[in-house]
Symmetry: C2
Subunit: 284 residues, 2 copies
Amino acid sequence: MLDRVLVISVPGGPPRVVPAGEPLLRGDDLGVLRGDGVFETLHVRSGRPFLLAEHLDRMARSAERLDLPLPPVPRLEALADTACGAWAAHREGALRLVCTRGPEDGGEPTLFATVAGIKDALRDQRRAGIRVVTASLGVTADARDGAPWLLGGVKSLSYAANMAAQRWAAAQGVDDVLYVSSDGQVLEGPTSTVVWRDSGVLATVPDSTGILPGTTAAHLLSRAAELGLTAELRMAVPADLLAADGVWFASSVRGVVPFTELDGKPLTVDPLTPGLRDLLGYPA
Amino acid sequence: MLDRVLVISVPGGPPRVVPAGEPLLRGDDLGVLRGDGVFETLHVRSGRPFLLAEHLDRMARSAERLDLPLPPVPRLEALADTACGAWAAHREGALRLVCTRGPEDGGEPTLFATVAGIKDALRDQRRAGIRVVTASLGVTADARDGAPWLLGGVKSLSYAANMAAQRWAAAQGVDDVLYVSSDGQVLEGPTSTVVWRDSGVLATVPDSTGILPGTTAAHLLSRAAELGLTAELRMAVPADLLAADGVWFASSVRGVVPFTELDGKPLTVDPLTPGLRDLLGYPA
């Protein structure tokens, strides 16, 4: 099996597996020239993508807000199938589905997929937890609601600032960033959704703040009752998280990873953590 | 000559012209997966790039802030040379120099260039001017100063929101957007720097606001004395622009284009406009 899978999809034909080192995109594709496109990252277990329908729904919403004609669902499903089929079923993987606006001089959107392994450092976080620092996103919690040009809630390919925030965290000697609004409200991580438990409530941040609605977090909340919890969308400030019974980042690649520290203050790992991980079906 | 030039640069060899339809980038290049890389767009006239050294300087500053190892200047110059050499000398063109973080699994940054023609609709704006609406960027004018993770002043490949803002403007029936801060200060356009004349002063916005320092605007200001003007960096609100003697967007592709309308209010085209255009050496 391949250690890194790349698959291109063209209209009217089956998706085609491309050797990893072989170029697949034109240099004038707007995906690279402008970060102009949408993507989804999915967890692959037992050779299948997890929460495929939910991710395709979110991808369609992102594309709609970017005014990008996403190819029809069966073509996206065939792409995911082919990509996962080329990946060893016993290995955890991360499937990316990518749709760009296509070449600058016009034509079809470019649709392709990648599957790669999940770095040990990220898998280890499921047990070891993460140290996190807050960083302001510069906007108020309500700034992106009603300002569609700011692309709140859109999972576009323009992630340079998200990546820069994670490098900045590493330079501070911690694992990740929790974005807060300029008015002090908790938002999200650069690649994750924040989830916390406050007694009998499992909470995350409402979409009206412009965060990306988390697929993994939504699945957790939808099954909260199985752990005797009530799901709730709530605004919070960092002090609320410090006082919570547990705080996690949820994402497709990581699953659910507990905060052990926020802004240098220790946080206790909630004993419910393995239960949350089991709800998602991620290995420890 | 080619109607669209694509050139790839690899270490230790000469840049290679790639046929326009031929793939040049891997699907797992972080330039497309994350919009993670830097670029510059330069005006090409008489087969040469305009303000090459200034653009390479800015590209180096962007790369430094992204912690991206930009290839050495001679390799960038050779890339620009090869790209412009494949472009008809009598045609205006737009040269893009692009450097991405390279493939996700590591290795060298990806360095390539494109040259394409300038759309008639953009060239026409030099004479006809543009109608512009303000749109909030959601941040205060000082939010990005001291917050390096927000990438203020960095010309990264993550331009999805800039493109969305221009589509949003088109949907309002106007030509472009002028970003303002959440505290009402004038910032920049999605792909341009704003310049205005207030009596004997030619002004633009200071970099401390997190705008991209405009190469074309800086050149204009550096030669303001030739038109009897004094150059100045100034903060402004939209009302200041409505009261100005002339307002322009400056960019490599457009040159200098006058505002004819801002938020539905008419603006007079400054008779100095052709003089500014001549300073830059752009055709009308």
